[in-house]
Amino acid sequence: MSDAAHAHDDHGHHARPSGVMRWLTTTNHKDIGSLYLWFSFIMLFAAGSMALLIRAELFQPGMQLVQPDFFNQLTTMHGLIMIFGVIMPAFTGFANWQVPLMLGAPDMAFPRMNNWSFWLLPVAGILLMSSFLLPGGASAGGWTMYPPLFIQGGISYDLTILAVHIMGLSSIMGSINIITTILNMRAPGITLMKMPMFVWTWLITAYLLIATMPVLAGAVTMLLTDRNFGTHFFNAAGGGDPVMFQHIFWFFGHPEVYILILPAFGIVSQIIPTFSRKPLFGYASMVYATASIAILSFTVWAHHMFAVGMPVAAQLFFMLTTMLIAVPTGVKVFNWVATMWKGSLTFETPMLFSIAFVCLFTIGGFSGLVLAIAPVDIQLQDTYYVVAHFHYVLVSGALFSIFAGIYFWLPKWTGHMYDETLGKWHFWLSVIGMNTVFFPMHFLGLAGMPRRIPDYALQFTDFNQIATLGAFIFGFSQLIFLAVILKSIKGGARAPDRVWEGAEGLEWTVPSPAPYHTFETAPVVK
């Protein structure tokens, strides 16, 4: 986004190729950050369209628009793409843009590896999207890829596994880069406990990625060899155990949940103090809470499997560790509220999204606590209650924090203020739409409507129609978001260096838009 206008700033550096080659060969953290964010935005529309197709089919009982098998492909791909293609790349995009700016570093530690980390992603995206065109369609076994279903499907299942491998490799390389940058490239004076919360949350997230992504890679490799090379890791007929896949998958899968939310905590912890014009309440406790959540996340995985069958002692263990995570999470929510307490609040779009994040993420957290109770979970497993729960944490949690972060830093990236009126329209339509889709799903789940099924019993019709209505409001209001971004890139009021009155941190000391190269000599921080 800091584009041709700054090309002439480049004297003293190697010449930059133009056109497509500029983006293919770039090693600049700001370019790569923008690429990540645009990739994630395109994938948001792709996977969002799938969600709208799912909701359109569910507008009425019976089969209207799609065949059941295609419906299953939609739910599978919607989940996989939203997680690996939207939320994770978006956070990595933020890390690329902001971590060097916040730490006073000239770039990421390994700029060429950074280029590879990004350009692997479109390859994986193409593999996933093109699998819809293959015979038998895309993989339809659910994003969790459980065997035996996932070892029985056609060629697109192999493509999905390959895509997961590639996206995993991309995240691991990105994480290595982020950890090295944070540990080695901080400007003099920035001790670990002086780092902005966003940097802290990403440091911990990157460690989680390094610890769990290879385990997922191992699990899908076992699926691949079970499918193609005659091994029997998960094939009961050959002496394997399909339940073992679920254990290995969720050993990755639960820390993954925190990979998807910790950077969101970081973004919100930057925004709330800015618009409260107060420093973040309880900074040290925020750091320790984040670290506790990350460590505890390795001890809770089997709460996804209460219905699979396990001894009562194990159910109790996983139930209690899961509930224990509510403690550090509660510390965070308390700190955000305490930061706002008696602050001079203003309600620009980033702040609105952040406040919505705190409220709605907490609802998702509470429904998570309900699901943590093993006997309740056995009732609610695979119902719409679960769908409501994880969409509250992932949409009004992770995605809203991404919206908030984009509005917050967009003026720094483009040099122009975004359109506040359109931003408010986007916020209100999103927050109303989002609640209209997902709140009724709690009731549907409690009443017993199963998830991942294209048809339903007649008594569920009303709530499903409300949900579908909300989905279309929420989906189409994202076009406003696209308009806001394009408008801000094209022009608008010039943004000052310190875009927001209450903003603190090194990124607000560089000009807006941030020049192509920043902090070539390290700033001094007291």
């Binding site: 390994f110 994480s175 950890i179 610890a211 290879p214 385990v215 890679a217 076992m222 155990d241 073992m244």
Partner: protein, 182 residues
């Protein structure tokens, strides 16, 4: 340089965690074994209620060949402790050490003799004549149940087989065998 060292550490950690994913496989089975979760025994829906677990019987296995038969014959296990009612499988090994094919048949006998009626063989190599080529070695199973109705005073049962060269005497061997099975 600091960055290179950090990179090395993180790559090693990544490869270690990839290996850990696979290490979870034996780990999973070990946990299941130690805690008894998920074992075949726990999962079998039908439990054999005919086993008399209140007592043990020692089984001894013996093998002989008739002097006219140039075979070596031995049980794969000398003795076994079982509960009456339990399904037991044992194996014998026989070797034809001559240079010609011979048809032989084994004849069982039991000690004490009153245990014979309670020794229910389900599958036995002694049911049919066995033809062994020159120098052939063969392992053969016996599958049986000790009837729980057997006298409680019997603590040890010996199962003894003798292999005979059948030839013309095949009919007689069959009759003897049938009589022994009761």
């Amino acid at each position: 340089m600091g960055n290179a060292r950090t990179l090395t550490k993180l790559v090693v950690a990544t490869l270690g965690m990839f290996g850990f994913g696979f290490a979870l496989v034996p780990f999973y089975y070990k946990i299941c074994e130690v805690t008894g979760i998920n074992s075949g025994d726990e999962q079998s829906l039908v439990r054999n209620t005919q086993v008399d677990t209140s007592r043990w019987v020692t089984l001894e296995f013996d093998a002989n060949t008739n002097t006219a038969l140039p075979w070596q014959f031995k049980p794969m296990q000398r003795s076994l402790r079982v509960h009456p009612g339990q399904l037991v499988q044992v194996e014998y090994e026989v070797t034809n050490s001559s240079n010609q094919a011979i048809v032989g048949q084994a004849v069982p006998s039991y000690g004490p003799a009153r245990a014979a009626a309670f020794f229910k063989k389900i599958e036995c190599f002694c049911f049919t004549p066995q033809t062994l080529a020159a120098g052939e070695r063969r392992r053969m199973p016996v599958l049986f149940v000790l009837d729980p109705a057997m006298d409680r005073e019997v603590h040890t049962v010996t199962l003894s087989y003798t292999f005979f060269d059948t030839g013309a005497k095949a009919q007689a061997a069959d009759r003897r065998e049938a009589a022994a099975r009761g």
